[in-house]
């Protein structure tokens, strides 16, 4: 079976993002970009399914500006067989991403689509669910364990109440949570090998998807600051301070 992996490039999780003083956006110039950590986990899971002999091919896809090729090469270096780059110069919203991914799904006919549960830039947590809806297929979100057997997958999900297990018929969309696996590191020889792996380029405009980018962002602001705190010298002082505040 084939697995399609959504592989988004985002501002690295270690960067403390700054809002531009005029509220028109956040500063992204010169900022380090990396794969969305949840997408690395998605790719890792796909590779493990291939190593177990369950999947035969892993395709990584991204919808991003033309300069995201190096990012896709990283996905290939990690071990994906092929890459698909849907090129767009504009940032797109989840509904558009889901519609574009559906086009890839129709073309590639994967049995499993693996995506991160959220991208750590817009923190939307929508694309996988939207794709599953448009595709009219099951969704297993926030996965911490995936077991594929035959035409079904048993997925354990990290939910607020604990761990929920569901069974889905394939094809299905699975979105990853942090505990699913620990992504492998890319080794130097793999970077060399990745250079010759197939990387297909498509234009978003050519896919014939209606734009779902209907939300207009009118302002960016820094978060409210908390006022400066105090230091106490020992446990007794801490308890006294909490009692004064009526918290104990």
């Amino acid at each position: 079976m084939k697995i399609l992996v959504g592989y988004k490039r985002v501002v690295d999780y270690n960067v403390r993002i700054q809002v531009k003083p005029d509220g028109s956006g956040v500063v992204t110039e010169g900022v380090k970009l990396s794969a969305n950590p949840f997408d690395d986990i998605a790719l890792e899971e796909a590779l493990r399914l291939r190593e177990k002999g369950i999947a035969s091919e892993v395709v990584v896809a991204t919808i991003a500006p033309a300069d995201a090729q190096a990012h896709l090469r990283n996905g290939l270096a990690m071990g994906a067989n092929r890459a698909v780059h849907v090129v767009t110069s504009e940032a797109i919203q989840p509904l558009t991403a889901a519609r574009a991914l559906l086009k890839l799904v129709e073309k590639e006919q994967p049995q499993i689509v693996l995506l991160g549960k959220q991208a750590i830039d817009d923190d939307c947590n929508q694309t996988g669910q939207m794709l599953a809806a448009l595709w009219n297929r099951p969704q297993a979100t926030f996965a911490s364990k995936v077991e594929v057997s035959g035409n079904t997958a048993k997925v354990t999900r990290e939910v607020d109440a604990g761990l929920e297990t569901i069974e889905v018929d394939l094809p299905a969309v699975i979105t990853t949570d942090l505990r699913l696996n620990e992504p492998r590191f890319i080794k130097l020889p793999d970077i060399m090998k990745a250079k010759s792996k197939p990387l297909e380029t498509l234009q978003l405009a050519d896919l014939g998807v209606a734009s779902g980018d209907t939300l207009k962002t009118t302002n960016y602001a820094p978060p409210a600051k908390r006022s400066k705190g105090v230091m106490v010298k020992d446990a007794a002082e801490l308890v006294a301070a909490l009692k004064t505040k009526g918290l104990l």
Binding site: V19, D123, L134, Q139, T217, A221, G229, V230, V239
Partner: protein
Amino acid sequence: MSKILIIAEHLNGKLNPSTARCVSCAQAIKAAAIDVLVLADAPDAIAAEAAKIAGVSKVLAVANPASAHALAAVYAPQVVAAASGYSHVFAPSTTFGKDVAPRVAALLGVAQVSDIMSVVDAHTFTRPIYAGNAIVTVQAPADQTVVATVRTASWPAAAGGGSAPVEALTLNVEVPSHTRFVELAQGSSERPDLQSASKVVSGGRGVGSAENFAIIFKLADKIGAAVGASRAAVDAGYVPSDLQVGQTGKIIAPELYVAIGISGAIQHLTGIKDAGTIVAINKDAEAPIYEIADIGLVGDLFKIIPELEAALG
């Protein structure tokens, strides 16, 4: 005029408090109606609870054996059928709402606003991005249904004491059988619930082991607090994943949050920014947690916690 439909979250026949928080958010929009939709196999008791939330106009109860468990693929087509005539569909931004709302939005062919922090007007909201390091104002089109999740930590639970009418509703929608519930392994529920507790004591990697976490639980029990954890503590297997607080775990707003052996990474801080009072206990005086703590105490947690217990009497 806006008409708002709130998808009720419930488990084991009980309404989740996140529903009353969605009602608060809906009240910030001057709506003509705020209705609550209860999808369940046996919705009556849950609907009766929802009817008591002040500000609710009407509760719609849809009994369906297929809705015994909150499967997004089963709920979404029912929500879509019930949503006709509504200008807004809200769900809490809990794992339940995050799972189902985008599926509803996509079926309706509309965008979703995730994690509403505040309401500017009926179509304009603020929400966090980049782990809460920026707050954006987003405007949804006025001619489309607004599907949104409500950041529960930003909204108090609406008061009780209401008496909204409950209407039984039958929806003629086919629901898929391709997604099946297997089981739910729930943590122990003797302690207060992390998402609604007024006090939370959290432990991080500094606690060192699952065994050592017993001291965090003991302290929490002593002051009647829920227990939380950093990602590092969960990843290391000290505690189960449903205790994770932060950008990709639970976003909480207790009156008191005590962070013990937690460094204060941005991903953790975004989960606690709305807490009333933040206390940090860490042996590293330079730890970033002190940048947002209201009260800081530098020292070894294994020495401080017993002293705290003694001081508490």
